[in-house]
Amino acid sequence: MSVIATEELTKRFPRVTALDRLTVEVPTGVTGLVGANGAGKSTLIKILLGLAPATEGRAQVLGMDVRTDGPAIRERVGYMPEHDCLPADVSATEFVMHMARMSGLPSTAARERTADTLRHVGLYEERYRPIGGYSTGMKQRVKLAQALVHDPQLVLLDEPTNGLDPVGRDEMLDLIRRVHTDFGISVLVTSHLLGELERTCDHVVVVDGGKLLRAQATREFTRTTGVFTVEVDALADGSDGTDETHRALAELGLPVERDGRLLHVTVDDERGYDLIRDAVDGLGVGLVRLQQRRHRIAEVFTKENAGV
């Protein structure tokens, strides 16, 4: 089932076309939306929330039409903006509770869900202190909490790791993963850091200049290649086994590239592991590493861009 579906979605501003006949489906799970600044990510989010009309084309969120069902969509969708949006002079508890009320929750439910949600995003005693004194990481958690407090079916997260240090970034990515795995809420997350999306997302949508460049499952992007990386240790007599192995593999007619102590062997079929294992076994060297290399999203992205 798809949580978001757009069809020839177009948004033109007087000077620029922000979305250009974008047709894409976002399935349940965690989906990354990748694109350079100005690629149309923010415009797409606004249209999906029913806040800005599309010039042409159609879009559905959770099966509802963005043109006519804006309020109903916004009742079931959470949104975490990229920029700072928190009042400095109230506590996280007060603020998130107010936002829960603004989503239509009765006050008792708002209070309970605020406490639950803040705990889930990892805010404890500090939630009673004014937000002005929070670290960036804590502020991002409050922003995420206000997007989750009304128990949406889908959250739109705009650059949630912006401004975080490496540890904070890892924690936020784990949290985003859990939003889907533990809470059962689908996620559309924008980022310009491909490595992050690789780790977090089930699917990746790449947009550029308002056009769809690619939409695929992450595992397709990072599918295995026919290249095996082989590393061996020294021979019994102390000499380096890498040369020996290189020669042995080459004799089997396999293309081998040497990269320091690593050998990259290209085998086009399933027999890769067996062939290499047998070849190395015959030499009497210890096999340290034998792994199939994977693509990274970045490589695909670079290739696509080069081709455009």
């Binding site: 949104y79 009042p87 239509g104 404890y124």
Partner: protein, 297 residues
């Protein structure tokens, strides 16, 4: 999340009961509008917020009531059965206090959401800019109405205690409350419109106080001079140019209400004053909506 994630988090043990979905009622726009209205009204008086935010509104509100208490005491001592001051004139006589109240509290009602860029969070929820404007306007208007109504109630209670005629006083009392609704709406729309134009609270405060006090001072001066020159007509029309004198002229249309000011308009003039007052409220509300329509897009 497993329990181990909480390890070393300090004091008590927190038992994670996992994520719970919410299957309860969702109120939709009417309930959200009401919740925002109540929150805005309470916010004006600092209720549900830090103690220091309550000081200013409650100080001003007590200054607003104090003269009424004194007037009632005077009436009691004199043993008079007619109120010292007509109920409907009270707000105009103490006009500096509501002006200060508006200047201090209208900006904090709307500018916080602008200053902290919180508006996108509202608009990513079911409510629209129309709901937001309606709730904020109703909240500020109600707060001002409470500010005006309490001393009028005190005066009315004092009049009844002094055994003033019940029927005529009750009529005057109700008319004064009706007038207070219009005055509250007028001041509210002026204050919110100015405050919504700047995310900076201090600027909003200064602009509102300048407009309220400045226009009142200029109009009073013009009225004083023109009355001295025996130009009663000019003096009366000058009242159009300050919110308080505009209201004073317009409310004279209500039965039994008569403000004894420096220069009051004729009956035809009162109609013009009333039309201008209503047009200002409607026009100001439309501009406020336009302002937030722009914010929401």
């Amino acid at each position: 999340m497993s329990e181990s994630n909480f390890a070393g988090r300090g004091t008590g043990v927190i038992h994670d009961i996992g994520y719970r979905h919410y299957d309860g009622r969702r109120g939709g726009r009417p309930q959200i509008r009401r919740a925002l209205y109540v929150q805005s009204l309470r916010g004006v008086f600092g209720l549900g917020r830090a103690a220091r935010t309550k000081i200013l509104p409650f100080t001003l509100a007590s200054f607003m009531v104090l003269p009424a208490v004194i007037l009632v005491a005077v009436q009691m001592v004199m043993g008079s059965t007619t109120p010292v001051l007509p109920f409907a004139s009270y707000a105009i006589v103490v006009q500096a206090i509501p002006a200060l109240f508006l200047a201090a509290l209208a900006p904090q009602t709307v500018s916080r959401d602008l200053r902290f860029h919180t508006m996108p969070l509202y608009f990513s929820r079911p409510l629209t800019y129309k709901d937001y404007v309606a709730a904020k306007f109703a909240g500020m208007t109600s707060a001002l109405f409470i500010l005006f109504a309490v001393p009028i109630v005190v005066l009315y209670a004092g009049a009844l205690l002094a055994k003033a005629p019940f029927l005529s006083n009750t009529g005057d009392f109700l008319m004064a409350l009706v007038a207070a609704v219009f005055l509250s709406a007028l001041l509210s729309v002026i204050g919110l419109l100015i405050a919504s134009l700047t995310p900076r609270r201090g600027l909003g405060v200064a602009a509102i106080i300048t407009l309220m006090a400045g226009s009142f001072t200029v109009v009073s001066a013009v009225q004083g001079i023109t009355t001295g020159l025996d130009q009663q007509g000019v003096a009366a029309w000058a009242g159009l140019f300050s919110p308080m004198t505009l209201f004073a002229g317009a409310q004279d249309l209500l039965p039994g209400v008569r403000y004894e000011g420096v220069a009051e308009p004729s009956t035809a003039g009162q109609v013009v004053f009333a039309i201008v007052l209503l047009a200002l409220i409607a026009g100001g509300y439309a501009l406020l909506s336009l302002r937030y329509k722009k914010v929401s897009s």
